[in-house]
Symmetry: C2
Subunit: 166 residues, 2 copies
């Protein structure tokens, strides 16, 4: 076995920076409260969507390979179901989920995002960071034009308010 | 929360059958030997590619979220590196890997396959099954035309011979 093999033909994906959208926020609540807002379906439905959208149903099987099923309702009354899976679960610290699979390990119709959440202690509260990774730079751009920053910004305000209250 | 929500607009992916290629074989060797051929890089390089292709390098970090890096060399001397990740690891029983991520959790350029391997006791040996799942029916067809059945057939012969010898 030759250890000095050339790496010819390596498919290099565009840099992560070109495929990432992110939001980071200090939340004046303990990590456990912020994590719980993501993992308890009764809490998630309260903050997950910016109005006039509603989250009307959530099933969250929070373990590696576990599925989630979240139904959002638009102002026109049309329900949009979303299915995904948890890839990594470290309680109160880290949560990774994706829509690339609908359950372990059935590929979805279109892998669009992988969400990497971290919950860190900071100034008596929590540094909450959501990195949203896409497979292509085009998908990142689409997501940004769909209103990522405003939508996730409002949702994160709602998440913070709930965590501080809970 | 209304539990009788309609599931309007659900994106239904094509059935798994349309997106799956599979191979199943009885191997006259214990499960542990067959599993080891997939997880020990010194063994994997011996069986992984049908001639005249060679597997010239393998790094396998076999744990959920761990990466693999496998370099194949064509008869023209050109090296083709492949990067992937393990999604599920149950020693001697089950192994799930994909090229949708190059490491935890960086999306690859093009998610193409998820490989679900099972190793079961059967007639004093092992029932070895590899299900290869694709995101689209078109990718499954491409993979089949690339020679999936012949290629995986020969590789599986080599895997079986190695497991029986080891």
């Amino acid at each position: 076995m030759n250890e000095t093999y050339p790496t010819v033909m390596e498919n290099t994906a565009p840099s992560l920076a070109e495929r990432e959208l992110a939001i980071s926020r200090h939340i004046a609540a303990p990590r456990a409260k912020v994590y719980q807002a993501w993992t308890d379906p009764k809490l998630l439905v309260q903050w997950f969507t910016p109005p006039p959208y509603l989250t009307v149903h959530a099933e969250l099987d929070v373990r590696p390979g576990g599925s989630n099923y979240i139904v959002m309702r638009g102002p026109d009354g049309v329900d949009v179901p979303n299915r995904g899976i948890y890839l990594e679960v470290v309680e109160n610290e880290r949560l990774v989920l994706t829509d690339a699979y609908t359950k372990a390990w059935e590929p979805s119709e279109k892998p669009f995002i992988t969400i990497c959440l971290t919950f860190e202690d900071e100034d008596g509260g929590t540094r909450y960071t959501a990195r949203v990774l896409h497979w292509t730079a085009a998908d990142r751009e689409t997501h940004e034009k769909m209103g990522f920053h405003e939508g996730w910004g409002i949702a994160t305000d709602q998440l913070a308010a709930l965590a501080m209250k809970a």
